[in-house]
Symmetry: C2
Subunit: 121 residues, 2 copies
DNA sequence: TACGTATTTAAGCAAATTCTTAAATAATAG
DNA sequence: CTATTATTTAAGAATTTGCTTAAATACGTA
């Protein structure tokens, strides 16, 4: 745990405390980074938003709404699913995806903010 | 605004409503994506968290805490600064960076969640 | 002025991302 | 079984990301 910053004003105790705090929360940072990196793409943020709003949608619906190819959407869905933030239900040939709301609860503030459409341009 | 999903059960009105909703909020999605893509990197999330906790830090401090090279940190800082989420103050040779809390308020829930360290491993 | 420190910038490279097109799976209907 | 529809998977290419090393800039001090 060596500290190398050589600034005269550097508060080495502060830096050590920061290191300890981050180390203690390392798993939390990794989990949160996984969610934020998934949500940090405009396409995927819209997919998450749509699933939050509509409960469930199939890849074809999402491709239509976002005006993108079905394989492109499917690959985004796969990424979100692999990360554990959505689940699927099959009805015949159609797969319906829905949000795991307990694992994405921290995005509620994000969705709320997005919905606050600016009145003044 | 044509809808092409050919599923028998497809609710074309629902899909049109979704398209309209997203279109109306397009700027909000872009702004939010900017913030989430910045925060969706473990290094940058830690930088934002540290600045939220410590008010201000210099690149050298952050490099020390995260055990990374100064140029690597500097380039992350530049990205966060270009996006408008931090500001800087110079004191001699040292640049202190601090969070624009009004522009990152939506991350408060993120920081709170990170701080809720799991008790049971 | 010259030197040391704090920081940024630039160049270069490996790895990751995100799309496209084409092929493979899965389920249903005739 | 064959054809059609819904979806996924794979391969490939263009772009972006994130580091490293080295050079440039900014400031303070002897």
């Amino acid at each position: 745990m060596e500290i190398s910053c050589t600034r005269a004003q550097a508060d080495h105790q502060q830096l050590l405390n920061c290191k300890n705090t981050l180390e203690r929360m390392d798993d939390n940072f990794q989990d949160m980074t996984k969610l934020l990196s998934i949500a940090g793409s405009e396409v995927r943020l819209k997919i998450l938003f749509l699933l939050n709003m509509e409960d469930e949608l199939c890849p074809c619906d999402i491709a239509d709404i976002l005006e993108m190819s079905v394989p492109a959407i499917s690959q985004h869905i796969r990424k979100i699913k692999d990360a554990g933030f959505i689940s699927s239900r099959r009805d015949g040939q159609t797969l319906y995806y829905s949000l795991m709301k307990d694992k994405t609860a921290v995005l509620d503030a994000v969705f709320t903010t997005i919905k606050m459409v600016k009145k003044i341009a």
